[in-house]
């Protein structure tokens, strides 16, 4: 098979007569697979040779549209001596093949337009996400007034997917993270002979910040992306439109169960991460600081006041709400192609993590002002 395609002739172009006004003899297979070599042959010739009046196609063994197009392109004025079959092919070619439109080149104007577009899009996003939140809230209100409208089966399914299935990874993350923190703290605090405060540092940073934050980031990457992609694919396959035409509200059937499920699971996951973090801390203090378990527990009881746990946990449902809203919103805005699903899923995860971190900073300021 390969032999049939590789063509033995090396030269596709021959100049007969040698003088100006000579005849160019084209030979061999002028087919698409040989175009690269034909290009080379043509490039070797002087431009004035190519302007020769006569072009003889007699030596061509095979020709296809690519070959015909090349002949049209490089010898536009040549009078062609054609066989019947070749004539048929050339008649099929347009007189002058249209040149490809160029992609618009960038300049200052396009740059400014681009910046302006992005800014207005960012503002629009802000408005739309507030509107979307409002819509979800009204639907939630409606559901509270008529509890029969809650989709319990869907909520339970999402609790399973976003909560129970996430337990191993979230637990592992909390466990490892507190080990890392206490290891670093132990090394530094040992220098001051304040090793015992390693436990305080680990426990406070874990319960106040790290536990819930790391859980939220993990959930955004794990469940948030799933929300955006699931709803996005449904949107793409017109399943969302199908719901609408059947008189079902997509916010109520798709968005609300996910938001509610995440509101339930994220705080629980954060608590789970905290607990496993305490276990990790216990192991590290045993190994690094030779602090027995009973003393560790006593120290944790002293350091972890209810306020600290509360300050951490109160953020969890807020983070859950932000993640769920941003990710379902992006899912509902998928349009066009499969590429859009991928792009908006990425956007959903990045935005939700960003918003979670921004919210966390805001909480820090608020709690600092409250003196907690």
């Amino acid at each position: 098979m390969g032999a049939a395609i590789a063509v033995s002739e090396k030269k596709y172009l021959d100049v007969l007569g040698g003088e100006a006004g000579s005849v160019l003899a084209l030979q061999g297979a002028w087919v698409v697979l040989n175009v690269a070599e034909i290009e080379k042959d043509i490039a070797q010739q002087k431009p004035e040779t190519l302007k020769a009046r006569g072009v003889d196609l007699g030596g061509i063994t095979r020709i296809d549209t690519a070959g015909a197009l090349l002949i049209r392109k490089y010898f536009p004025d040549a009078k062609l001596a054609l066989s019947d079959q070749q004539k048929k092919l050339f008649e099929f070619l347009p007189e002058k093949s249209p040149s490809a439109p160029l992609e618009p080149k960038g300049n200052l104007k396009t740059l400014l337009t681009h910046v302006g577009k992005n800014v207005s899009e960012a503002l629009m996003f802000l408005f739309e996400i507030i509107a979307f939140t409002g819509e979800v809230a009204t639907k939630l209100g409606g559901c509270i007034l008529h509890p029969g409208r809650f989709r319990f089966a869907a909520i339970v399914r999402h609790i399973d997917e976003t909560g129970i299935r996430a337990l191993p990874i979230i637990g592992l993350l909390g466990f490892l993270m507190s080990m890392v923190v206490s290891y670093q703290a132990a090394i530094q605090l040992q220098k001051f002979g304040a090793s015992i405060f390693t436990i305080d540092l680990t426990v406070i940073s874990l319960l106040r910040e790290m536990g819930v934050l790391i859980t939220a980031i993990m959930v955004a990457g794990r469940s948030g992306s799933a929300f955006a992609a699931e709803i996005g694919v449904m949107k793409l396959r017109e399943e969302v439109d199908a719901l609408r035409t059947m008189g079902l509200d997509p916010i109520e059937t798709l968005v609300l169960p996910r938001v509610l499920a995440l509101l339930i699971t994220l705080p629980l996951l954060a608590f789970f991460a905290n607990m496993l973090g305490l276990v990790g801390g216990a192991i590290m203090s045993q190994v690094l600081l030779d602090i027995p378990l009973t003393q560790y527990i006593a120290r944790v009881e002293y350091a972890a006041t209810p306020t600290i746990l509360f300050v951490g946990m109160v953020k969890a449902p807020i983070f859950a709400f932000l993640i769920a809203i941003v990710c379902t919103y992006q899912g509902m805005h998928v349009t066009g192609s499969a590429e859009s699903v991928g792009r908006l899923t990425t956007v959903a995860v990045v935005q939700s993590i960003f918003i979670v971190l921004a919210a966390d900073a805001l909480f820090s300021i608020i709690f600092a002002n409250m003196g907690i």
């Binding site: 698409v32 175009v35 549209t65 690519a66 197009l69 092919l89 347009p94 490809a100 192609s337």
Partner: protein, 254 residues
Amino acid sequence: MEEIIKVTNLVNTFGSHTVHDGLNMSLYKDEIVGLVGGSGSGKSVLLRSILGLRKPTSGEIEIAGVPIQDLDEKEWRALQRKWGVVYQNGALFSGLSTLDNIGLPLREHTEMSEENIRDLAMFKLCMVGLKPEDALKSPSELSGGMARRVALARALALDPEILFLDEPTTGLDPISASAFDELILSLRAALDLSVIIITHDLDTLVTVCDRVAIIVDKKVTTGTLEEMMQSEHEWIKSYFHGPRMRAIKEKKRA
């Protein structure tokens, strides 16, 4: 006549379910064969077997005289340049523009200059009846009929000898569908193509196809349209003498 594709004693089974049982079929040079059959009769499985996307349970497939079972990787690549496939919904790559979709086979299989790739892709785009300004559109901006045409242009990028069309007119409006039929006929005349069309469109079958291959009882029965209409087989009879077919025959007579 030269046999371009020859399928002998093809057997395809999925678990205990047999789709093809000793199926024979051939495609001659320069002819258009319409492949028909009920839903689930194994049209797509046959196509996938010929294209090497599915390894048949047993049987032989020859393309241009070469059995495809024992080809090595290099020979496969050479064979793949000889055919073009148009999938049901176009299967255009959504990340590439229309022009880049058509240029992709040229870029991958040849070493021609970027300028000529663009020129050739542009020519193929116009050949299938699209406008130059459609070149930079992304596939999601194209209508169904246009996407099908771009897919055809991509399939024809390397000037193949064999063209496979999987339900090319399904889901198109009658005007676009008959325009597509005419496009296939004119392309065949200019480019010496051999074509297999899987279709449910009776109009396509009547206007475009030289021969009809019907998958019934896990085998293929071939013949011209007239021969098929004379068939005594129960399913073929109901296929060609149903109300839709009658309407087309009357239209043709008128």
